[in-house]
Amino acid sequence: MAVSLEDVRHVATLARLGLSDDRARALVAELNTILEHMDVLSKVETDGIEPVAGIGAAGTPLRPDSGPPDSLAHPIDAFAPRTADGFFLVPRLSTHEDPEEA
């Protein structure tokens, strides 16, 4: 299952990573080298083996959905790139963006 340049471009789009052409080509080779080592797993007999879903012993405990949120040591405008009136500001959604890729 060799990774192609198209694959790298596709997963970069999914991961919201911009890549230069040189970097994308280099990543094709890097990912293929790494994934070649993974091929050994395909030879392991795993019929009937339940995949690990979580490693914790206790499952997922619940707690009462009550109480105030934790107070923050710093206001959000101390760490967010752009805010207004306690909200995070994002750039305007461009109409030319393709909703199919989301």
């Binding site: 299952m1 919201r16 990573l17």
Partner: protein, 483 residues
Amino acid sequence: MSNAADWSAAELRDAIARGELDPRDAARAALDRATAVGAGREGLNILLYQDDDCTERCRAVEYSVRDGTAGALAGVPVVVKDNIATTRLPTSCGSRILEGYVSPYAATAVARLEAAGAVVVAKSNMDEFAMGSSTENSAFGPARNPVAPDRVPGGSSGGSAAAVASGIVRIALGSETGGSVRQPAAFCGVVGVKPTYGRVSRYGLVAFASSLDQIGVFGRDVNDAATALRTIAGLDPRDSTSAADPVPDYPAAARGSLVGVVIGRPREYFPADLDPRIRTQCDRVLDAMRALGAEIRDVSLPHTGLAIQVYYIIAPAEASSNLARFDGVRYGLRIEGDGLRGMYEATRSRGFGPEVTRRILLGTYVLSAGYYDAYYRKAQQVRALIAGDFSKVFASGVHLLFTPTTPTPAFELGAKSDPYDMYLSDIFTCTANLAGVPAMSLPIGRVDGLPVGGQFIAPHFDERQMFVAAYALERVLGAEAHR
């Protein structure tokens, strides 16, 4: 009077609790030592941020001394890895994307250390987002090993290990996903503990691979590490994966004995091509434990050889999801681009370094349609087999396993340019993360002046048994194993 930076955590705490040492002087001694060893950017590059004004924290410690309520770490200076949230110093994960970010809340482990009186004096350098085994992947430049500055300190918690090894502090926090505490502990000649998954709250630990991540501790000696772990361990309502199991008094394990303890020697961790000098050191340790009354038993963990492959599918897959939150909206770097999507791509491309980018793409690939079953699902099945190996061997009456921590001592900076070659540094450590069991590395000697670590692995929530063995071994091996 000797330099306070040379005292053990317990000695420091007791002197401060008796009013014989001012906590400001203890913090100052740590920061003076940092200057003396060249811990900053131009030197070893092991500390990224220092708190030069701990006055407020030290005053709180003084009040506790006056009230007679001084905690187990009253006035003890500590260093915290840069991916664990602190509210006074930045938490940048060794990454440009979080450069200058100061968390609005503190990690539970940090809050517990501070509640016990510890004073956070610095944040330490690390591989970006904990992805690496040498601390060369930091956006703020590589760290160096204080024992041999031409060598790496290991990683990803290399800065914390080096801070303890160079005598700046006795205790530091690190984090583990595949060996990021134990491997640098081995390379720097200090004690490093990865607790059971769930033993320590992950609240405030910036997530890398959530099913593997766990905060760990470094100590100059076993007692420093035992004291630190006892302080931070235990249930936390803010982390639903933290466990309610009672936390034993780990320092009390110093009074334990190895008589009748069965220690397994897994053959897969002693391969034919293991560095013979490391094999010799391990054999010496096994002989010493036999002399202390332990039974040494040859055992097998047959799926060990698949662990690196499984780890490097699962960890990047989880990372690709966890790191989606770094998008220029809520915190950290923002680079404007064409619309919202352009901003995401510009921010993430500029903010993440090459290894983080590689792992996000690898993780996205193995989770994507058409490849999920072949890679991710398969890896989770083989992970079950690896975890089963440990369950079987512990169910057979083995109390502990002993292995080398790493296949080689610390390597030179720049020696491993192939990513997969670097991944192999975790070959003896990532199994414990995959199975969720506790493990620790302690110094067992040196080869050509470089520290060698020996590793104990225990059943879930039996850190106490590891500490019994580590205390006993430390007494026999003596101080030379630590220097």
